[in-house]
């Protein structure tokens, strides 16, 4: 009885998120904010219940929507991985939005503030739908909803620069969506199915017989490239610097922490459930992913070093971290996929606090994003300084933090699966990228901790000073730092859950 009720939770969450988005759009901003926080917490609680149920249940569940069975109807499917990632992304969304609310209320136009919360609800709906759907076209629709919601979050800053950045994001995003949709149509044309298990069965059969080899390879490539463009993989990462640089801290955090990860997760789902790992690896797409991922990890770091603007530097650092995820996926095998998922988690909990603390450091430096003006900023806002330093330490890969486990996992995946071909390039890229990460993050940390004569810190100011919305930012910093240390110190249970999760996906 209880189990039959719990399996409804993903559908309830999607419907509730869509309904709350509609409700938020007609409410005043403070009421909309309360509805939004309520929804995000309710979805979080539902996903925790679902995860506990799935850990006990031990097998994946297929939930039929409506009254039409496969292959005609629409389905949701989930094991352990889906609720686990949904909890994490939901938490990141909630904490980033809470941490960035002070800036949002300072920057957004009065009268249009509830739009931001509407968009957050839509993002929550997209997150749930893209993680749980078993239908490729439903995935496409929610990819577009996520794009529109992200654009709405981006323009919340309401400056000409942020609108131009949103436009650039939309153009790149639409190119990615166009390629993805073409891939989906080709796949539907070849297999005649939209549900992932049916597509997978047809693809495996056709691949084994050698029929439609070229169209299948084209469909796999189009879908991979489309989602890679949307997630910001090299060489499609150039929109990131402008977009993250012009966005409000909350929007940049949501984009880097949640949205870019959604596309990668959906690609991962398609690799497992629509193509099958053997067909995907055999098509050569995995090797292309490895090359571009490794190049992205290096190019992103080199670009970050050249920036004078701290927001753009952090944005390029995101491009580098996305490169790590694709590189780990490109290594392949169970260890590679687990490393990619762990990197995805680590980046999702590290980048939002970096953007949030950067905004505070800018605020106490005359709202300037340039390094020269940020000197001594960590003394003027100590909490933001600590939060930024912790994030930077994790990005560099210091032991006890999540970033260290990522590098360890990627290196051991490369060595364990394919000695020679990918192991040595992976280790070289990891070493070089770590050095480059250290250069630009250490430079920034040294700069913000070097006392400034022109902008001295107020010696009487209490270090915690919870005034004017600082409580929400402090809560977000503390929660992200705790998660970072938690994943760094207690990584084994998480890795074990990820292993069980991808096992349920059919790896």
């Amino acid at each position: 009885m209880i189990s039959s009720f719990v399996v409804n939770f993903p559908l309830f969450c999607i419907v509730a998120s869509l309904l709350c988005a509609v409700v938020c759009s007609v409410l005043v901003s403070h009421a909309a904010e309360k509805v939004c926080w309520g929804l995000l917490m309710a979805v979080l609680a539902a996903n925790i219940t679902l995860l506990v149920y799935q850990i006990q249940n031990g097998e994946s569940v297929t939930f039929m929507m409506g009254h039409f069975p496969a292959p005609w109807g629409n389905e949701l499917r989930f094991g352990i991985l889906e609720p686990m990632i949904a909890i994490l992304l939901g938490l990141v969304l909630l904490l980033t939005a809470i941490g960035g609310r002070m800036h949002y209320f300072a920057q957004a136009q009065t009268g249009h503030r509830s739009v931001y919360f509407t968009m957050l609800c839509l993002l929550q709906a997209s997150t749930m739908a893209m993680l749980f759907t078993n239908d490729i076209f439903t995935g496409y629709v929610f990819i577009e909803i996520a794009t529109i919601a992200t654009c709405g979050v981006l323009v919340s800053r309401n400056t000409p620069g942020s609108i131009a950045a949103a436009m650039r994001y939309m153009i790149f995003s639409q190119i990615g969506s166009g390629l993805f949709l073409l891939g989906v149509i080709l796949l539907y044309g070849i297999t005649g199915h939209l549900l992932l298990p049916n597509i997978c069965a047809a693809v495996q059969q056709l691949w084994a017989t050698g029929e439609y080899h070229l169209p299948l390879t084209a469909a796999i490539s189009l879908i991979t490239v489309g989602l890679a463009i949307k997630s910001g993989l090299f060489p499609f990462h150039f929109w990131m610097a402008d977009t993250y640089g012009s966005a409000s801290p909350g929007a940049a955090g949501v984009m880097s922490g949640v949205v870019s990860k959604l596309y990668i997760l959906f690609l991962l789902k398609l690799i497992f459930c629509a193509f099958g790992t053997e067909v995907y690896y055999d098509s050569g797409a995995q090797n292309v992913m490895f090359v571009f991922g490794a190049a992205g990890a290096l190019v992103g770091s080199v670009s970050a070093i050249h920036q004078r603007d701290i927001n753009r530097m952090t944005a390029y650092s995101s491009a580098s971290q996305i490169g790590y995820i694709y590189m780990a996926l490109g290594i392949g095998g169970q260890a590679g996929v687990i490393a990619a998922l762990f990197q995805l988690i680590a980046h999702a909990i590290t980048k939002p606090p970096l953007f949030l603390s950067l905004a505070r450091l800018r605020d106490v430096s005359g709202n300037s994003p340039y390094f020269a003006d940020l000197q001594g900023a960590a003394h003027r806002d100590r909490l933001a300084g600590i939060s930024f330093t912790l994030g930077a330490m994790s990005m560099v890969g210091l032991p006890t933090m999540a970033g260290f486990i990522v590098k360890l996992q990627i290196a051991s995946a490369a060595v364990s699966t394919d000695i020679g071909l990918k192991a040595i390039p992976t280790l070289i890229v990891l070493a070089l990228s770590t050095v480059l990460n250290t250069v630009y993050f250490l430079r920034t940390v040294l700069r913000i901790y070097t006392p400034s004569e022109t902008h001295p810190a107020d010696p009487k100011a209490p270090w915690w000073s919870p005034k004017g919305g600082r409580v929400s930012a402090t809560l977000a910093y503390a929660a992200f730092a705790a998660m970072n240390f938690g994943f760094g110190l207690f990584s084994q249970p998480v890795l074990a859950l990820l292993e069980r999760g991808i096992g349920m996906l059919g790896f």
Partner: protein, 123 residues
């Protein structure tokens, strides 16, 4: 050769339209033309999708007395096209709204000129 092209004319037209729309979206500097490119690209995909479900000589998938299942065209691609059109209209509306805001701020529709203005402001 010509027979083969004629046999899959909708697909050929769809591919040509897709290429035109894609290049417009990617390369044109004018924002309105970029949006037109996006719409051409989307339309080409709907044509491609609709042509997959079309069966020569069969009727539209609306229940008709005396007709059997074999008399209808495949209704799923038509349904997908409808969903796709809704998505396309939403993204077009959003992009047009952004264009209006950008034009008010920069008095131009040329994306390069807008970026030059932004760079100038950054310096």
């Amino acid at each position: 050769m010509l027979d083969q092209i004629l046999a899959c004319l909708p697909e050929v037209v769809a591919v040509l339209l897709y290429a035109i729309g894609f290049m417009l979206l990617l390369l044109h500097k004018n924002l309105i033309k970029k949006i037109i490119g996006l719409n051409i690209m989307d339309t080409s995909m709907y044509l491609f999708l609709a042509s997959m479900g079309y069966i020569q000589g069969n009727i539209a998938p609306i229940l008709t007395e005396g007709a059997t299942v074999a008399d209808y065209i495949n209704p799923i691609p038509s349904g997908l096209v409808l969903t796709g059109i809704v998505v396309s209209v939403s993204t077009t509306a959003l992009m047009l709204a952004l264009v209006i805001r950008l034009y008010r701020a920069y008095h131009t529709l040329n994306l390069d000129e807008i970026y030059i203005e932004i760079q100038r402001g950054r310096r």
